[in-house]
């Protein structure tokens, strides 16, 4: 994945900073609570939600289980419709391909539709290094770009900013990128949207190259789908001469009909709308309507590694709706930046450590960035059992074992950070296998209970920092059981 986040501290360290930022917490609380109630209402409107969710899950699972077949079919259909398909095994290869394609056009700027895949590979930086300026055109992405910030939400990357902060960024930065913010700009959302409209319009009208992602790709027809709200997507998809779409290989679905499921579940899950304002579908190129040249870059970048894990592969069903972020109590408090990835929240906690591996501090800590409450699973429109994958990845971090990295099978070593935990578990195993030793230990613990500290020393201090050690009873349970014949004697 992108180098942007290399060297990120582990989740608890980053989250610790974030939870002290009261503005951030206020912004996140306000935004996530607004959308939660709306989503619930939008979902309640359709009586067959459970069936749609199951159909979505099964379509994605089936596609993943036959991904090679559907990718080849997709390539064939896109090519037949006049597009060119490229394959990128990792971020560097994808960036090289896209940069090369833009250079071929002799253009030095591109307009971009919001795309998670291009954020993931750090495309803007790669283009900048090649002397090509990439303009983000989604309102939230624009806020992030102008503020030299990082995205903190899948759907609304600037969710950590409130309207006042957005106004300040627009006033200070728009001038350096093009048309400055209007005089006397206030913080009303309608005025901020108008400022973005004016700022970006000149860029849309002169753009020769557009770069997008894709929400879905249909193998049978070669059709790509982009779902959006503002119209910036339509601008980028129809006005430029050249369109380059970068999409993860898991975005493919088998048939045109499959879209009838996702175009019902995605808008309701993400923006809580019956339907998002604009959806564009295109199949290759169309004579005299829209781009003359269309390139599709299929991106692996850790997806096949994820696919190789039979428990973890369900993360590839994700349609990037971000409902799991909006209901997550951990995300609401820690914010998106603490996850150290363009994919924050519960889905990020299972996706990033699979796409990137668990070698770095941040990736090894992400499976723990959850209380396992299960709200994410409940709202997921493709029924990804996020808690199941989190526990599975915790196991991988602690115990090590087989995993796939960069297409190769590797044997992961157990994480060092968990040595104390492992020693404790080994001691417990030893004691439980020896009833005599266990009994002696328990009696000793009961007798010395008045001497026990309320908090643990050393590495245990963090654990008892927020809770008391459980009190040891005056008499071990097994002694009590024997003495009273299981409570029948009525003895205290």
């Amino acid at each position: 994945m992108s180098g942007t986040y290399l060297g990120m501290p582990a989740f608890p360290v980053a989250a610790h900073e974030a939870v002290r930022d009261t503005t951030l917490r206020g912004n996140l609380r306000h935004a996530t609570h607004t959308i939660r109630a709306k989503r619930a209402a939008a979902v309640a409107e359709v009586s067959d939600w459970a069936e749609l969710r199951e159909a979505g899950r099964r379509i994605k699972d089936h596609t993943l289980r036959h991904l090679d077949t559907y990718l080849e079919q997709l390539e064939e259909s896109v090519t037949a419709a006049g597009g060119t398909v490229h394959w990128a095994a990792d971020a560097a290869e994808a960036n090289r391909i896209v940069t090369g394609l833009v250079r071929e056009t002799d253009e030095s700027e591109v307009v971009k539709v919001k795309s998670m895949a291009t954020q993931e590979i750090g495309l803007n930086k790669a283009l900048e290094d090649a002397g090509i300026r990439a303009y983000e055109t989604d309102l939230a992405e624009l806020i992030v770009q102008l503020g030299r910030d990082r995205p903190s939400h899948i759907l609304v990357p600037a969710i950590h900013r409130n309207r006042g902060e957005i106004r300040d960024i627009f006033r200070a930065e728009m001038g350096a990128w093009g048309r400055p913010a209007p005089e006397g700009l206030t913080d009303t959302p309608a005025e901020l949207a108008e400022a973005a409209r004016l700022h970006l319009r000149e860029k849309f009208l002169r753009a020769r190259v557009g770069i997008s992602g894709a929400n879905f790709m249909v193998a049978e027809t070669g059709t790509l789908v982009v779902v959006e709200s503002e119209g910036n997507g339509r601008m980028c998809l129809t006005l430029p001469r050249t369109l380059i779409s970068v999409a993860g290989i898991e975005k493919v679905v088998p048939t045109w009909r499959d879209l009838e499921v996702f175009l019902q579940t995605l808008p309701r899950s993400s923006t809580a709308e019956r339907m998002n304002p604009y959806t564009s579908t295109w199949t290759g190129t169309t004579d005299e309507d829209g781009p003359e040249t269309f390139h599709l870059v299929l991106l692996d970048n850790g997806r096949t590694d994820t696919l190789a894990d039979q428990v973890g592969r369900q993360a590839l069903r994700c349609i990037r709706c971000s409902a799991c972020l909006n209901v997550c109590p951990v995300y609401e408090r820690a914010g998106g930046h603490a996850y150290g990835s363009v994919y924050p929240g519960p889905i990020g906690a299972i996706l990033s450590p699979q796409l990137r591996g668990t070698a770095s501090e941040i990736d090894a800590s992400l499976p723990y960035a959850s209380s396992l409450c299960g709200a994410c699973y409940e709202v997921c429109p493709v029924a990804i059992d996020i808690p199941e994958v989190l526990v599975h990845l915790r196991e991988r971090v602690v115990q090590g074992g087989e995993a796939t990295l960069g297409g190769n099978k590797v044997l992961l070593k157990p994480a060092r950070g968990h040595a104390v935990e492992r020693a404790a578990m080994r001691a417990a195993r030893w004691a439980f296998a020896r009833p005599g030793a266990l009994r002696t230990g328990q009696r000793l613990a009961s007798r010395t209970r008045r001497l026990h500290p309320r908090t643990l020393p050393g590495p245990g201090r963090a654990w008892t920092g927020t809770r008391d050690l459980p009190a040891v009873p005056a008499e071990p349970f097994r002694d009590w059981w024997q003495r009273t014949s299981g409570g029948k004697d009525g003895a205290e």
Binding site: L67, W87, E273, R274, P277, T286
Partner: protein, 213 residues
Amino acid sequence: MSGRERILGRVRRALADVPADDAPYATAVPRDYLREHGERTTGRTVELLAENLADYRALVHRSTEAELPALVARLLAGRGAREVLVPPGLPVEWLAATDAVRVPDRATDTAHRLDRVDSVVTGCALAIAETGTLVLDGSPDQGRRRITLIPDHHVCVVRVPGQVVASVPEAFERLDPVRPLTWISGPSATSDIELDRVEGVHGPRTLEVVLLG
């Protein structure tokens, strides 16, 4: 090895656990979700379309064939439209009463030229009642995708009940994936500021829908 071979090779190795007789597509995907949510009369379906369009801030009008030219003229005049974009196959009588200057949908016009046009009048491929969605497919009465994008005012005529379907699944059944499709549900909007919906960003900020029947 090319990127293609490398990726397909990785996919195949990753799927070593999938048996050769894994359930085929036809049986792997249950389709027991609804084709349509609830039963309605045709008239009620059209009403639902009108309600849902209005709910997402489209302005909805009803008209007969005879009233249409005057209505379109009034809508354009109401916006002070001096120029109106016209798809090649738009019925000429629809614009019979307006004195706005007609700008034909030409491939040679630049985006900057279209940016000076006030309004656009089109038909549509179909409309979806349950979601309040219009779908354009680039047919002659709708024109190129960009003409319904750049002007700030879009008047879209839907023939009712003929062009109205109840649900998203019914829409997919009728639409041709080879055509470039634009699904429009209300004027452009954003939820990017505090996850609250605001209408009016890059696409037309005023969407007027005429239910013609």
